[in-house]
Subunit: 294 residues, 2 copies
């Protein structure tokens, strides 16, 4: 059985330092960790990140921690102590140095209701085998996310663009995709703009250009998408962030859902209609993404 | 210190019975209960109910359990064993027989990721003192919930009308209300229909009629609102479920947010504009609501 690791942070936020104490302690994964009164579980009131680990080295930790802090700010959580979080991620990564691909999931909650300190932990284990999805692709369906494209600016209390623990809708959308004989979802705004997947960003290729929906649409700024763009530019391609409608799917020569653990999964069908896969570019992109090291 | 009780269900769902075992066991509230891998905390993937307890007797347990089952069905959770849940609620209520007003919070999650059994527990303690809110009222602000009024039928994967653990948005909306010098929120659909509060239903009175927004709007079917309607009819009033726009707020002679623990809180200001309170009716309504016994 491959290792499964769990570490509880001693002081996850900057406002409650714990000088002289070790930054974390390992916890038995089989034991309960979270209070029944923790707002993370009673209200989905917290944020998370998932960081991939390759051969014992974390990938893109900086951008993930930056996004954790941004999500926390959107929820008005105490500012996380990113140095403490980084030290935990690196410690767990080192424990998984014998594993080719693993991941660390960082969870940061508002803590026990009525209390004054947040809760933070990191769980890490070997990643599932995503070989087939990376090579042969995934089938997606277009689903309405219900919000207009500009909701992040008109109604910031809806927390669009924050990576929160309130992900029940994302999981329900994936169940709807399965009902429609697909693997995953591509969300549309209520006024018809392409957004993102349930746990991934959309990237499409046309000619010598990679494009992804603009983050002004209340979607997550993708860490893996950003690295995919870096790779593309190193190959002489241009990149852009745009407002896209489903027409853009028709025009694209290749499409992907990109995310931290599965990396680049080509989209091989949309609403049941087959799409071409660029196998050579996909393989090169995934080789680059898998090979990243902090 | 008043008692705080926590009970973990042995078999919260009908598909995994545990014959011969006691239906629950008490857990030390100070101890962790939930696995870091429980989807309730990692994805807000679960449902809840809050049931008020008066003098050791639960209130409206049947409607709350019916709604728990309906929320669970919307999330495709295993069907909850309502007899087991009821027995836990009643046992905790009895332990709180010396407390005038208390509440029980039922939480039912999808359980540990990759596992095949849900997690269920009930927490109970004395209620906060809501005397002032019941008597003097609350100030609300109107906030956009971002979804169109018919989203529950057009996009059921958005889970509108289910009482899920993914409540980060509701809490962010309350923070926005506080920023605007108010106590609570009245949500509007993106196309301008009145919906509900963050944890309460809207009830308004005009002439001899009590009205609440129709549950087809993707809002929670209110258990306390239903009992408020029963009380109103016993007083010779009529009741109705309607599609309402903010004009209805102007026309109303009195308005309330009604919920299970706070009961009927008159709305004394909307977006900073004072509103009249019907003190006599409010007092009679709350006396009725507080006095309910299963």
């Amino acid at each position: 059985m491959p290792p499964r690791l769990l570490a509880l942070l001693t002081a996850p936020s900057l406002d409650r330092p714990a000088p002289g104490k070790p930054p974390f302690r390992f916890i038995d994964v089989e034991q309960p960790l979270v209070s029944a009164l923790d707002l993370g579980v009673t209200r989905g009131d917290g944020v998370f990140e998932t960081i991939s680990i390759g051969g014992g080295r974390a990938q893109a930790t900086g951008p993930h921690l930056t996004r954790l802090a941004r999500s926390a700010a959107m929820l008005e959580l105490p500012e996380p102590d990113l140095d403490a979080w980084r030290s935990v991620v690196y410690a767990l990564a080192e424990e998984l140095s014998g594993v080719k691909e693993a991941f660390a999931k960082l969870v940061y909650t508002r803590g026990i209701e009525g209390g004054d300190r947040p809760t933070g932990w990191v769980f890490a284990e070997a990643s599932p085998d995503h070989t087939a999805a990376r090579r042969d692709g995934v089938r997606v369906v277009l689903l309405d996310r219900g919000y207009a494209h500009d909701v992040a600016s008109t109604a910031p209390w809806l927390l669009q663009g924050a990576k929160t623990l309130s992900y029940a809708v994302n999981r329900a959308a994936v169940r709807e995709a399965h009902r429609r004989d697909a693997d995953d979802v591509l969300f549309l705004s209520s006024d018809g703009f392409l957004l993102e997947g349930t746990t991934a960003n959309l990237v499409l290729k046309r000619g010598d250009r990679l494009t992804t929906p603009a983050t002004s649409l209340g979607i997550l700024a993708g860490t893996t998408q950003a690295d995919a763009f870096s790779f593309a530019r190193s190959q002489g391609l241009t990149t852009s962030y745009e407002l896209l409608t489903p027409d853009a799917l028709e025009d694209a020569e290749a499409l992907w859902l990109v995310s931290s653990v599965r990396h680049a999964a080509p989209i091989r069908a949309i609403d049941g209609v087959e799409r071409p896969i660029d196998r050579a570019f996909t393989a090169a992109l995934n080789e680059f993404l898998v090979g990243r090291r902090d």
